[in-house]
């Protein structure tokens, strides 16, 4: 039986509303509004425990049904390509029983949307989904109750269907949601125990509707931050140092000031030129003569790993089972290996961009950001404004991948809007994007492991430097294992020569590369097929099923590696999502170029909200993952970033495309997990294992660029005396 608290929410809600929230209600008008209430409902704690975003503590709308029947969903999440503009709308429409097309998603607007930690870590559907569904369920309960009163029918004899409430027995007796909402102001809090629909009755969720943003995007009408144009707006270009750590000694701006229409602004560290046209601003910037001190750190992409190891903080044991020394006593074959991955750029096609305008002490910033509420705080601090005087609006993002969390460009635009008194657009150049990226941190993993006489792993001693986190501990069934982390990927930011931060699959790529490469190395030592060897060490039923289905789809036949066939595999459990991938690669021995020809990707993400969307994410992960596997690394020297363009920082291209087969394992017993990241973590090891399979050369460092492959081939030829 449905449990709705029929308290009088009007008074309690009103009491708790802060002034700006009242303002918000005014914007919203009448209708039915469901809030998230203070005090966490029963389903919240494990999202917090799992490291999920804290849920809003103030009163914020999750959804409203307006007097015209339009349903709006308000979320602090943003759309950056991952398709939540559709999948969240699907969850809402399903639970509320409205056509998908009548749901309007309002995303990433700090004045309108509930507080949100940010869109990253692939958590939107998993963590935002449950309260959203609860809000919809509550709204539906309210509608049924109202309809009961209106139609004079007991609520249990009513049902909802596509935006109307009708009597089950005589469907002609009906009333639409809009009519019910008309002239009302009903506010509700999220129920403690929402009565949700059974998955078996789903008609919208679990399907793949066409993306609601697609038509906007194919016609060029979708607005990204750089497409916002305001009357009198100036475009800014900012003076940048040539290297991280460089200090400005002097700047001569008089030539720039003489260019007609150019405004030069200088405030502390910020020197900018502004013009009503971006290309003129660019010319003006070139006219500034500046001198910087150049740091000499003697640090570069070659010696960074040594330096990181030397600078590593004390290790912390983050996971342990059994006793390593006992395991060592049981081992007959011991293997040691070190794996490294350098700095990897996010390189979204849209660079960091923001437009800011200031009116009456209030600033509005349209920003390309994964963290609108973070940006709000940063802008407020930079401008010494109270939080409620800063509004961040997030248009579509042209990609994020974890790289748009720092909001430096939003602060720059806001400062310049304040200084000039005019609306200002800041759009980073590609070089600025590569320079100020918050790179995936460089990291090192050292593994020592042992096999016993029956080829079972008896110990696994894993040391991870600068990539510690939830992806480091091994899920394999090993009696004696220990994971020691020396600095987590997020804590150790200050140890890096420039900004680092989350990158699609944070701490997953380096750790999975190490673990899954090492598993193949052990399989080779054991003279076993890599799949059979893994199966001997996996107990998780979901993972077993995923591996089985990958093997079937791929047609994996048992053979020890290197088989000469260039086959490679990898698997993982990523925050509740089970994944496996198998692939086949060719290595061109004259160029060193590796081509992945075929890929099978299998994923169990629990309930699937949008199957096509989930598959697109897997394909995107596979393509993007080939980049960090085969080409992507940022070279640097003394704080200077050497790869500042796509000419030398090579992204995966069309010709890299393998034939990709994606398989989704439906798992209705498990609530929806996220699918935007897991698969990318497998690509490094899969490719390394496939290259080993093809040419018998084992790579311990990423990326496996043609130069490195060629060098390794020459070395191995030299060793075998054939060179």
């Amino acid at each position: 039986m449905k449990e709705i608290k029929m308290h009088n929410p009007e008074s309690s809600v009103a009491e708790a509303l802060s002034v700006d929230r009242r303002q918000f209600l005014k914007i919203l008008g009448g209708g039915i509004i469901v809030y998230f209430a203070p005090g966490l409902p029963s389903y919240a704690p494990d999202t917090i425990a799992a490291g999920g975003p804290a849920l809003p503590k103030d009163f914020n709308a999750f959804l409203s049904i307006a007097e015209d029947g339009r349903v709006s969903c308000f979320t602090g999440k943003v759309e950056m390509g991952q398709g939540i503009v559709v999948s969240l709308a699907q969850m809402l429409a399903e639970e509320l029983d409205v056509p998908l097309g009548s749901v309007n998603m309002v995303m990433g607007d700090t004045d309108l949307c509930p507080w949100d930690a940010g869109t990253y870590g692939s958590m939107s559907v998993k963590y935002f989904g449950p309260p959203l569904r609860a809000a919809a369920a509550e709204a539906r309960a309210v509608l049924i109750q109202l309809a009961g009163e209106r139609l004079g029918v007991a609520p249990e004899r009513l049902e909802t269907k596509s935006g109307i409430v009708c009597e089950k027995q005589s469907p002609d007796k009906k009333v639409s949601y809009g009519e019910l909402a008309k002239g009302k102001r009903i506010e509700r809090q999220l129920p403690d125990k929402p009565s949700l629909k059974a998955i078996s009755g789903f008609t919208i969720s679990g399907k793949s509707p066409l993306r609601t943003d697609a038509v906007l995007k194919v016609t060029g009408t979708a607005k990204y931050a750089g497409d916002i144009s305001l009357p009198g707006m100036l475009y800014a270009r900012i003076l940048r140092p040539p290297a991280h750590g460089a200090k400005l000694l002097e700047a001569e701006t008089s030539a720039a000031e003489k260019i007609p229409g150019v405004q030069v602004v200088r405030e502390r560290d910020l020197i900018a030129v502004l013009h009503s046209r971006p290309d003129e601003a660019e010319n003006a910037l070139k006219a500034i003569k500046a001198k910087f001190s150049r740091p000499e750190t003697n640090l570069n992409d070659g010696n960074i790993f040594e330096r990181l190891l030397a600078a590593a903080p004390a290790g912390k044991i983050v996971a342990e089972a059994g006793d390593i020394s006992q395991g060592k006593g049981m081992a007959s074959k011991v293997t040691q290996a070190t794996y490294t991955q350098g700095y990897v750029a996010h390189a979204p096609m849209e660079t960091h961009t923001a437009v800011a305008k200031m009116d009456d002490g209030k600033v509005t910033v349209w920003a390309s950001t994964q963290q609108p509420f973070g940006a709000q705080k940063q802008v407020a601090e930079a401008l010494s404004l109270p939080l409620q005087n800063v509004r961040i609006i997030t248009p579509f993002l042209g990609g994020g991948f974890g790289g748009k969390n720092d909001n430096k460009q939003a602060v720059e635009a806001a400062r310049l809007a304040k200084l000039t008194g005019k609306p200002v657009q800041v759009a980073w150049t590609r070089a600025e994007e590569f320079f100020y990226d918050t790179f995936q941190p460089a990291a090192v993993v050292k593994v020592e492991s042992g096999l016993d006489a029956s080829n079972k792993i008896v110990f696994w001693d894993y040391h991870v430097y600068f990539a510690g986190g939830d992806k480091a501990p091994s899920f394999y069934d090993i009696p004696h294992k220990k994971t020691t982390a020396y600095g987590s990927w997020s804590e150790s930011r200050s140890s890096h020569p420039f900004g680092t931060g989350p990158w699609r699959g944070p701490n997953g790529n380096t750790n999975t590369f190490a673990r899954e490469s090492h598993m193949d190395e052990l399989a080779t030592k054991a003279g076993m097929d890599p799949l059979s060897f893994r199966l001997d060490h996996v107990q998780d039923k979901r993972l077993l099923r995923v591996l089985d289905s990958a093997a079937k789809a791929f047609g994996w036949s048992s053979a020890p590696s290197p088989s000469g066939k260039g086959r490679g595999m990898a698997c993982g459990i990523y925050k509740g999502t089970c994944i496996a991938a198998m692939g086949e690669a060719d290595v061109d021995k004259s160029s060193g170029r590796c081509q992945v020809k075929r890929l099978v990707c299998v994923q169990d993400v629990g309930q699937v909200v949008n199957p096509e969307g989930a598959k697109m994410q897997m394909e995107g992960c596979a393509m993007m993952g080939l980049g960090y596997a085969l080409s992507e690394i940022t070279r640097f020297r003394d704080g200077e970033i050497l790869d500042l363009s796509f000419d030398t920082y090579q992204l995966p291209k069309f010709s890299w495309m393998p034939k990709i087969e994606t398989v989704l394992i439906e798992n209705p017993d498990v609530p929806p997990q996220e699918g935007g990241e897991p698969m990318i973590t497998l690509m490094g090891a899969l490719v390394a294992n496939a290259i080993f399979g093809a040419i018998g050369v084992r790579f311990h460092e990423l990326p496996m660029s043609p130069e490195r492959v060629l060098k390794a081939l020459n070395e191995s030829r030299g060793k075998s005396g054939k060179g």
């Binding site: 793949s208 042209g398 590609r430």
Partner: protein
Amino acid sequence: MVDTIEFVLNRKPVRLQVEKDRALLWVLRTDLGLTGTKFGCGTGACGTCTVIINQEAVRSCQIPMADVKSKEILTIEGLAMNGRLHPLQQAFVDNNALQCGFCTPGMILNAYSLLLKNSAPTEAEIIAGMEENLCRCGSHIRIVQAIQTAAKQMRG
């Protein structure tokens, strides 16, 4: 050097007083308010700024205004006609050939010129023709499928 430059933009004549050396990309985006053409690199390396000039896909960040004199330019805003999506646009929608969508206008226009030259391209020809347009989201597979779908439809 300001000059009067006349050209046809999305089937309509345009006459502009503009510096000859300014890049077409910025004139489109700022002076003409056509923001569907995207800035991705400004150095000709990504293809997000692709437009069609006299039936040829070009990178508008590399085209000075002097070069568009008397030319016919088509941008993403001009592709749909009479409120109907071009078959390529429709195929991108139907095949989910986009994620963030930032590369999409450039992809579609590059494919448009590809299909003008070769109405029945093989998969390998599509890949070769699209090679230098970058997509960070990894929508490549579906983009190729969308182009195949559109090609088929346009051949009738």
